[in-house]
Amino acid sequence: MTSQLIKITKKLYKQNFYQAILSALWLIFPLEFVAVTFHIIYEICFHRNGILEVILNLHTNLPGFYVISYLLKSTNDLTFITISLLLAFFTAENLFELRSKLSHEHLAGITSLFIYFLLIVETAPSLDFPQITEVAGNLLIPIVIGLLTGYGYSLLAKNSHIKLTVSYWATNRLIIIFSLLIVLIGAISFIVYQTQLFPNYLSQQLQNLIQVGNRPSFWKIILATFLSNIGHFFGVINDFTTTIGNHFSSGTVNLAYLADHHNLWKIPYPITLHSLYDSYGALGGNGMLLALAGTILMRVKNQRARLVAGLSFTQTLFDQGEALMIGIPILFNPLFLIPFLVAPIVSMSIGYLAIVVHLVPASAYVIPYATPSILRAFLGTNGNFGALFISLLSLVISGLIYYPFVSLIDQLTAKKEDDPHA
């Protein structure tokens, strides 16, 4: 099975579009790494109830707290928008260059960036900065737009005998292309507004399907996590699970019960997204990436993978796996699809069993925001060491699930290096 997986991956590596995506992802990795680092600082120090904020009481002790927090927040948002813009730019550039091997003065990239920016701003539910940032979090859109644009330009370059440079001819064509694009995107946005089919339409419909009933069952939680992780795998960074978790009132009912009785073992709804997904199924962000980072550091020899994992290890401790996803990359990488989907489900099942057989209480306490994932079950159960142990156990088991796949990285690169000589 592993040899088949390598075969598929290698085949994919030879595709122009896949290479275009990979090198674009590698180009934006440094920026993503910096952005995520600052994002973590914002979340733990400046978010309301962020873990360092509550411990050090920063909002009273740190002068200029609100100004810094506002600056950091807007810088973060802008950086993430820039990242997706760059992704649209580089994907189109790479694909064009790979396909037509021509110099074209970055026309494909500029066009792709233009289309993408116009599209996300115009189809955001409102012209509101956070809303646009949220749409920009979806990395699949810039990649698809980049690929389409790159492909379109390479066709144009093949069919016309003149080089696609800013010559008299090209400028004339470009004016037509850009005008058409503006009208086209305007029309698309118009339709989006008229039909209310915003980019998040599909995920909202899925949410409505899962949100039936007044408490989340084990299977619903598994399904929600599965869907959310598939989304992440294809670059659709979402907070699907959080939104669904917030929908159900079981968490608040639990808290109300705890406020009266202070007994974790007898809370009315022990199985919630908080007690399963947050505590055991998302250590290191979606897909148990903390386990992956650890496994790579322990096992892999590949320099690049080691560098990325070494850099992002601290980030995954704080649940931010995006840099790791982009750097390895895990996005669109068939090697990691299976463990990425399976590891969280196995971990959550372990947590579920432990809660059901009353080995550990369900975590229902309010914990500080951006608590490191390892500590979430521990804090949520009011310091139950059993829960901490179950967290570590599910982490180790996830590491074991990732292990056979991670070792393929070395095999793949070894064969890739052999290929040219063969």
Partner: protein, 282 residues
């Protein structure tokens, strides 16, 4: 050496975060006010002395007309032997159900207000379990406001209950005393215990004035004395004076101006359509 430094630092950091995070979590839970609000948030109405449970009928009618809703009105009288008699309906689905809590013994006087506050607490305990609410707003007319204030200071349990807004209408915090320097026993007691008043309370004290001094029954200075109890203790304390038509003590609850104030500050429903949100932040 350097190879072990980072794991060591991370482990230490996680350990510290664990210890202090746990402390915060426990602290947070210990003084947990029921952060989970029940869906139902009734508005409790307390009439003054000599008034019965029908005291607020006109006012509720007026409010329902103005807000174009049909909120239900439940009228409860607490009898001297602690049993409750009910009339009217309680419909939790409506925006804000009203509950009038009146007292069989509705005499004036400090000793009676003490008794009424105890009866009120008894009624609240029963009603909150029976109708499943853990937060409410309250409006007290005349002595009803004094009963509410004493209830907040003596009986109110912030761990189990939350009060959003309190409005007292012409409540004589210093009884009929017109001189603010002469504090009655009740005012002294209320000021003495004011630390128990929840610090998140939004409080409005409305006074009516027929002439420059009083509303025909209660002196303005006595209403104003409320500031010694609430100011600096509640989150907000706002003193509002209403003049003009229908400003005699007994007309005040159905006074158009006061009904508008209740609509705005207690129900939070405004007449005029709000301007659309401006999306681009500056």
């Amino acid at each position: 050496m350097l190879k072990w430094l980072r794991p060591l630092v991370l482990l230490l950091l996680i350990g510290l975060l664990g210890i202090f995070g746990l402390r915060w979590t426990q602290q947070n839970m210990r003084n947990a006010i029921p952060s989970a609000n029940s869906r139902v948030s009734p508005i409790i109405l307390v009439p003054g002395s000599s008034a019965t449970q029908e005291r607020f009928d006109a006012m509720v009618n007026e409010l329902n007309n103005k807000t174009k809703t049909t909120s239900s009105l439940l009228k409860v009288t607490v009898h001297t032997d602690n049993h409750l008699s009910y009339s009217g309906t309680f419909e939790p689905g409506r925006s804000h159900p009203y509950i009038v809590i009146a007292f069989e013994n509705n005499d004036d006087g400090y000793s009676n207000i003490k008794k009424q506050a105890a009866w009120f607490n008894h009624a609240m305990t029963i009603l909150s379990t029976r109708y499943h609410f853990n937060h409410f707003s309250a409006i007290g007319h005349s002595n009803g406001g004094l009963v509410l204030t004493r209830y907040l200071e003596k009986y109110f349990n912030q761990q189990k209950m939350r009060i959003n807004t309190l409005m007292t209408i012409a409540s004589p915090y210093n009884f009929s005393e017109t001189n603010i320097d002469k504090r009655t026993q009740m005012l002294t007691d209320l000021i003495h215990d004011n630390k128990k008043i929840p610090s998140n309370l939004v409080m409005y004290s409305v006074a009516g004035t027929e002439n420059y001094n009083n509303d025909g029954t209660v002196p303005f200075a006595s209403v104003e004395a409320g500031k010694y109890i609430f100011q600096k203790q509640a989150k907000n304390y706002t003193q509002i004076t209403v003049t003009g038509e229908d400003t005699t003590h007994h007309d005040l609850p159905q006074n158009g101006e006061i009904v508008s104030l209740i609509q705005q500050y207690v129900l939070h429903i405004s007449d005029t359509k709000q301007r659309p949100d401006v999306n681009v932040r500056h």
